[in-house]
Amino acid sequence: MTTGEPLIVLDAVNKWFGPLHVLDDVSLSVGRGEVVVVIGPSGSGKSTLCRAINRLEPISSGTIIFDGQPLPAEGKPLAKLRSEVGMVFQSFNLFAHKTILENVTLGPIKVRKEKPAAARERGLALLDRVGIANQADKFPAQLSGGQQQRVAIARALAMQPKAMLFDEPTSALDPEMVGEVLDVMTSLARDGMTMVVVTHEMGFARHAANRVIFMADGQLVEDAPPEEFFANPRSDRAKDFLSKILTH
């Protein structure tokens, strides 16, 4: 699956929130086309890890390299980097005052300076791909959670990102809507998108991930292919975590 140099490389990354050590010497590399699922108990630092990759969360020490370049500190270069990394949030965060189609075309028009007509056409195609083309002129609040999250994925894809970050994309959804979002994510993974997915969906981790990362207390505890991780977790922390979530 992995070809050439890795796309995302974290080296000895540390992050403190005041006295709280949320990322403790985390090193990780994600190859092009690789799907890495990050799991762990809440407060383990997995969301922070995900948000650090596009610098929504600045780190305290260490380095993060994306596509061969260290993350820019701020300003235009940082904005450019972010435009190349798609992000999907737990709470969707669709622009509430824009229509569904405008949500998807905003980035291409304002960041990439695409022609509105071309952006619209591509936006509609993307909405079609995630199955919401018929809702293009509605506002986010008129859609269900699952539909909103699929729009959020289309919005990220509209930037033609080199990688996609998913920060607990199904945690805020009603159970019956989880499947439709995971289906879109699975098809993305199959198409070769590089993905870092923070999730509690063990089914998705099993069938779509190349690697599973297990985090606890800010540390990267295990890094293994899903079959191996779920069958034979090595650390006690991971065994304990799995026993708690898989027995129900």
């Binding site: 596009n54 929504l56 300003g75 235009k76 904005a79 450019k80 980097l81 972010r82 435009s83 190349e84 990394v85 798609g86 992000m87 949030f89 709470s91 965060n93 669709l94 622009f95 509430a96 005052h97 905003l106 980035g107 304002k110 960041v111 506002f139 609040a141 008129q142 959020a152 919005r155 990220a156 930037m159």
Partner: protein, 224 residues
């Protein structure tokens, strides 16, 4: 109503409210532009800009408007020689507009800033995540939503501005309160009717304005 039957008095009455209208219109536009800029400064990550915005708000929000208008006349015009146009009335008008906008912008800024707090942090995060710069995030995502959430308070500020415009009478502009004072001085037998006509004219314009902004606030509210 014999006072207003006199064409001279009637013309003075009409032109006095035209001054109020012009003062309100010009100051509203300037205060809105200035208020948006100040609000952008106050939420920006640049300490110098934040300091400037905060200083502006603290100075103008905590100073009586009469003093601000006096300063425009005695300070800017008489002492510093700031003359905007040759015509004296028009010069007083623009000095009044400067004072009113500088003062009102502080309130617009604070209304908008409270509006920014109603926009969930995730909106700005999502904007940054697709590669919008700080300025674009503010202009395209945050401020439009913030403004729409504070339409009703902005309406109240506009109404206050319209009534505050009468203070420009203190530097000689023949706006409504000034004309009313003159009419009362020369028609001692009709003080109450004169007063009621002037007060009633304000109310007749401003009550519908208030309802209009209430309607607009509902219409523009961002559904979440």
């Amino acid at each position: 109503m014999h006072v207003f039957a006199d064409p001279t008095n009637f013309d003075a009455y009409v032109s006095s409210f035209l001054w109020i209208l012009k003062l309100t219109g010009a100051s509203a536009v300037l205060a809105l532009v200035l208020g948006v800029l100040l609000a952008a400064m106050r939420v920006s990550p640049v300490p110098v800009l934040r300091g400037f915005g905060a200083a502006w708000v603290n100075i103008f929000r905590n100073t009586p408007l009469t003093l601000v208008i006096f300063f425009c006349f005695f300070g800017l015009y008489s002492t510093l020689g700031l003359s905007l146009v040759d015509d004296l009335d028009l010069n007083n008008f623009w000095l009044g507009v400067i004072g009113l906008s500088a003062y009102t912008a502080a309130f617009v800024c604070e209304a908008l800033r409270s509006g920014v707090n109603t926009v969930p942090a995730g909106q700005a995060e999502a904007a940054r995540a697709i590669g919008l710069t700080f300025a674009q995030t503010l202009r395209i995502v945050v401020l439009p939503q913030a403004t729409r959430s504070v339409v009703a308070p902005l309406g109240s500020i506009l109404i206050a501005l319209c009534k505050n415009a009468t203070i420009v009478g203190t530097i000689g502009l023949m706006e409504s309160s000034n004309v009313m004072k003159d009419l009362i001085n020369s028609n001692g037998d009709a003080v109450i009717p004169i007063f009621l006509v002037f007060a009633g004219t304000f109310a007749a314009f401003l009550i519908p304005t208030g309802y209009f902004f209430g309607w607009l606030a509902n219409r523009l509210a961002v559904k979440r």
